[in-house]
């Protein structure tokens, strides 16, 4: 890191230590690449190499890591290690929270797979009988009830399909689901992010869904 970068880093960390959230924008712009390197390292450790190529997911995790550093900035010693090295374990926790625990939200082995033929404009993979799964699995039923309370009908369908594709190991679920619903991959990622955020908010305020807080993609 050259002297100018070092001075900028110290200035932005000082601003964040003072609670200036606006500093997050230039901080991520200038040091996001270093944060991303740390995030990728954690993803590799966790075996989530599928996410290394998902630029949108990676950016979300970089933002999460930056916001975590923002909260901790007052504790950083500028004579010590770089912030992302100093906060390595915290960033690891952020990544684990962001991608969920080792288990994923939906277990494909528990799905009823019903051959329904090709989906219009989409893949020819078997579709999932969600109603049958809801009737049989109390956890999934609770999850679906929470999903039913947030987002539009289209967003709910996109979200379910996105999670199912992820659970099936699809390396790029946003592209797959996008082609099924006539959306761009970016749209799908935004919908999935929005649904997750809304679900997390719902879980925080509605005790009926508290049990979902530890669930894969929603774990806080």
């Amino acid at each position: 890191m050259n002297r100018d970068d070092r001075l900028l880093l110290e200035k932005l960390m000082a601003a964040m230590a003072d609670g200036d959230a606006a500093a997050l924008f230039p901080f991520i712009e200038h040091f996001g690449t270093a944060l991303a390197r740390e995030v990728r390292r954690v993803l590799r450790e966790l075996g989530r190499t599928d996410l290394l190529r998902d630029r949108d997911e990676l950016d979300g995790l970089v933002q999460d890591a930056a916001i975590d550093l923002f909260r901790r900035a007052a504790g950083w010693d500028r004579t010590g290690a770089l912030p992302w090295v100093w906060a390595r374990s915290a960033i690891r926790s952020v990544v684990v929270r962001g991608i969920g625990h080792a288990t994923v939200a939906l277990d494909p082995d528990r799905f009823d797979l019903v051959e329904r033929g090709p989906v219009a404009g989409g893949s020819d993979t078997p579709d999932i009988d969600y109603e049958a799964l809801r009737a049989r699995d109390a956890d999934f039923e609770l999850f679906c009830r929470a999903v039913d309370e947030v987002g539009s009908e289209r967003d709910r369908r996109v979200f379910h399909e996105y999670l199912a594709q992820q659970a099936n190991g699809d390396p790029s679920p946003s592209h797959t689901v996008g082609s099924q619903f006539g959306l761009t991959a970016e749209n799908v990622r935004q919908i999935a992010k929005r649904m997750r955020d809304q679900l997390r908010r719902l879980i925080r305020v509605d005790n009926r869904y508290r049990a979902l807080s530890e669930r894969g993609c929603l774990a806080a």
């Binding site: 900028l8 200035k11 932005l12 601003a15 200036d20 959230a21 606006a22 500093a23 997050l24 924008f25 230039p26 991520i28 712009e29 200038h30 040091f31 996001g32 690449t33 944060l35 991303a36 949108d56 950016d59 979300g60 970089v62 933002q63 916001i67 935004q190 992010k193 955020d197």
Partner: protein
């Protein structure tokens, strides 16, 4: 500090709207009545890369008014004109999404 929202050669291109949404959530948790507008005001200054008093001086604004804007105390329509102009010209900010106009 940078005075532009453009990326440096080794910069990280982040989803500015998403970052705003996260900051808006934080402002909302703190009780701000207009968290989306507050996040937009923060993003605009963040793009300029300067502290609040410097930015207020650059735009000829009252620092107190700028603080109110950034704290989410003002609706978007009541943000200083200069802030709204800068926000409108920042293509990475999806104002409709942030202000719930979509």
């Amino acid at each position: 500090m940078s005075t532009t929202m453009m990326m440096s050669a080794e910069g990280w291109a982040t989803d500015v709207t998403r970052l705003c949404e996260r900051l808006a959530e934080r402002l909302a948790r703190e009780g701000a009545p207009f968290p989306g507008a507050g996040a937009v005001a923060l993003a605009v200054r963040g793009g300029a890369g300067v502290d609040r008093s410097t930015f207020a001086a650059q735009l000829g604004l009252d620092p107190h008014e700028l603080a109110l804007a950034e704290n989410g105390a003002l609706p978007y329509e009541q943000l200083p004109e200069a802030i709204r102009q800068l926000a409108s010209s920042e293509t990475r900010l999806d104002l409709d999404r942030l202000l719930g106009r979509g």
